[in-house]
């Protein structure tokens, strides 16, 4: 139980932020106006005293980098979530021979750094594959020799590991009465799962999904270490080409904050659209 709560806690940490951010009755208090002026001054200072002359030259690359980051985020959360459903179900209700491997998988993914997993896959497996001529000559090789499939795979199983733990709690948290009622109505087991259990579980997991997605976004820059050119890699490239230390990093921070803001807004909008019937 402790682990499931911890998993939820991980999500809750993020959602709490949205609570504090939500507008109090009067937003423009005197001290906020002063703070906004100070912030504007800092921004102006950054804009005029720091070096931004490299921006125009790298703009196309930056655009591509942001696009790749978003693409990675979308693809890996989507597939990761679909993997998480069976992982959570197996742990919550599966027989031991399904529950045990699912549990082991989640523990291993959550217990080791993503950077290590990524390097294990890219350098470990990647150095193993070419030793087999069958793989090298197969049609898969053009993909296996690139870096992005490893990045997608590592990020997907990572998200599945964390979200699987959340889904386990969600499946367990569905009120027993709902399932009993369905059973009493003579619903077949698969129908109960499809019509009652799964929708209720997803509804319970939804509030943490936004937080998990933000955490996933924050994990994406690690793929730059295996030569995938995301926005982080573009910023590193700028740093290394121009020897400018802080400006590309500041730009990076702003880009990630904007994306995080958009994710939080999107999930808030989505949650409002899903009527919460679970009282």
């Amino acid at each position: 139980m402790g682990a499931a709560r911890a998993a939820r806690q991980r999500g809750r940490v993020m959602t709490d932020a949205s609570l504090t951010d939500s507008a109090p009755p009067k937003f423009w208090l005197t001290h906020r106006i002063i703070m906004a002026v100070v912030a504007a001054l800092i921004v102006a200072l950054c804009a005029f005293t720091l070096r931004w002359d490299w921006l125009p030259k790298y703009l196309p690359l930056i655009g591509e980098g942001i696009w790749r980051t978003l693409w990675l985020l979308a693809v890996t959360t989507f597939f990761g979530f679909f993997l998480a459903i069976p992982l959570g179900l197996a742990q919550a209700a599966g027989p031991w021979y399904l529950a045990a491997p699912a549990r082991a998988f989640c523990t291993i993914i959550r217990g080791t750094p993503l950077l290590l997993q990524l390097w294990l896959l890219y350098y470990g497996l990647g150095s193993l594959f070419p030793q087999f001529p069958a793989i090298r000559q197969s049609e898969l090789w053009p993909y296996l020799r690139q870096a992005w499939p490893y990045a997608v795979f590592a990020l997907t199983i990572s998200f599945a590991g964390y979200e699987g733990e959340v889904m386990r709690g969600a499946f367990k948290g569905v009120p027993g009465g709902q399932l009993e009622a369905a059973r009493a109505m003579g619903m077949p087991r698969l129908t109960i799962l499809r019509r009652i259990w799964l929708p209720l579980a997803i509804q319970r997991a939804l509030p943490t999904l936004g937080g998990e997605t933000v955490l996933q976004l924050k994990a994406t820059p690690l793929v730059a270490t295996i030569t995938v050119v995301d926005i982080y890699a573009v910023a590193s490239r700028v740093r290394q080409d121009t020897f400018i230390v802080y400006e590309p990093l500041l730009l990076l921070a702003v880009v990630y904050m904007v994306i995080t803001g958009l994710i939080v807004l999107a999930f808030r909008w989505f949650e409002n659209r899903v009527p919460s019937r679970v009282a």
Binding site: Y123, G126, S127, F129, P130, R136, W141, R145, Q146, A147, T225, T227, A233, S236, R237, R239, Q240, D241, F243, V245
Partner: protein, 252 residues
């Protein structure tokens, strides 16, 4: 006040501010035969020995400090290290940010590719191929300028580029001839061969490898220059080089 700050910095930062040994940065990734960690955790190689020799000749107390290659120059300018001896070539681009001592070695640049690939070290020879280079090196600059028909893939370390060449993820790599010779001699390097030196371009490939220093650290620069001149004159340079290379790599 002065006492307080020194004490506080000694407590917080672990080391006192005065009589500081010179921290010489090397890349924290293996770059044999210049610098690589051994199984006991010590850094060994030609450049590590050279640091010891130069520092001894310049009467400096030096500490070898591994730093990530891509953070090398920021580490120097932000004061985490005082000098760079990490096979960093002297180039005009870098000179805008940091200063260099006189060179202490200079070797040609070559391209290595899989055996029988038919790749040559020219733009035509590499057309449509993927060439891997270490980021933020003269080789990246050179490949981007001269190998426009090739796809260029950037690596944090040369070691990763070598590894991906073995794994077949790239078709060729360009780097310093000595570093690549060492790789070709290793077990994993059996896949590949040297396909020749690239045409020289002094503006990009620079004037050899020197000690990177903060701008304005002229005392330290003078000491390093004196140290380098001294070991070349008294034969220490050749003595250090002999176990690693058949001939001197000081270059012309």
């Amino acid at each position: 006040m002065k006492f307080l700050i020194t004490t506080v910095s000694a407590l917080v930062l672990g080391t006192a501010a005065l009589a500081e040994p010179v921290k010489v940065g090397i890349a924290s990734e293996p770059y044999p035969p210049f610098a690589a960690p051994d199984a006991a955790g010590n850094w060994v190689g030609w450049e590590v020995d050279m640091i010891a020799a130069v520092c001894a000749a310049a009467e400096l107390e030096c500490v070898v400090t591994p730093v990530a290659w891509d953070g090398m120059i920021p580490s120097l300018t932000s004061g985490q290290i005082d000098a760079i001896m990490a096979s960093m070539s002297i180039t005009a681009d870098r000179m805008q940010t940091i200063d260099f001592s006189d060179k202490y070695y200079n070797t040609p640049t070559v391209v290595v590719a899989a055996k029988g690939s038919g790749i040559t070290a020219t733009d035509e020879g590499l057309a449509g191929k993927i060439i891997g280079v270490q980021v933020s090196t003269v080789h990246q600059d050179y490949a981007q300028t001269h190998f426009k028909s090739a796809e260029i893939k950037l690596y944090q370390t040369q070691d990763e580029a070598n590894q991906d060449l073995v794994a077949g993820r790239i078709d060729a790599t360009q780097a310093d001839s000595i570093a690549l010779d060492d790789f070709l001699k290793s077990d994993t390097g059996a896949c590949c061969e040297n396909v020749g030196a690239v045409a020289d371009d002094k503006d990009i490939l620079g004037l050899g490898v020197g000690v990177g220093l903060r701008k304005g650290d002229d005392d330290l620069k003078a000491k390093f220059n004196a140290g380098i001149a001294k070991i070349i004159a008294d034969g220490t340079y050749d003595k250090v080089t002999a176990p690693y290379f058949a001939s001197s790599i000081y270059g012309g």
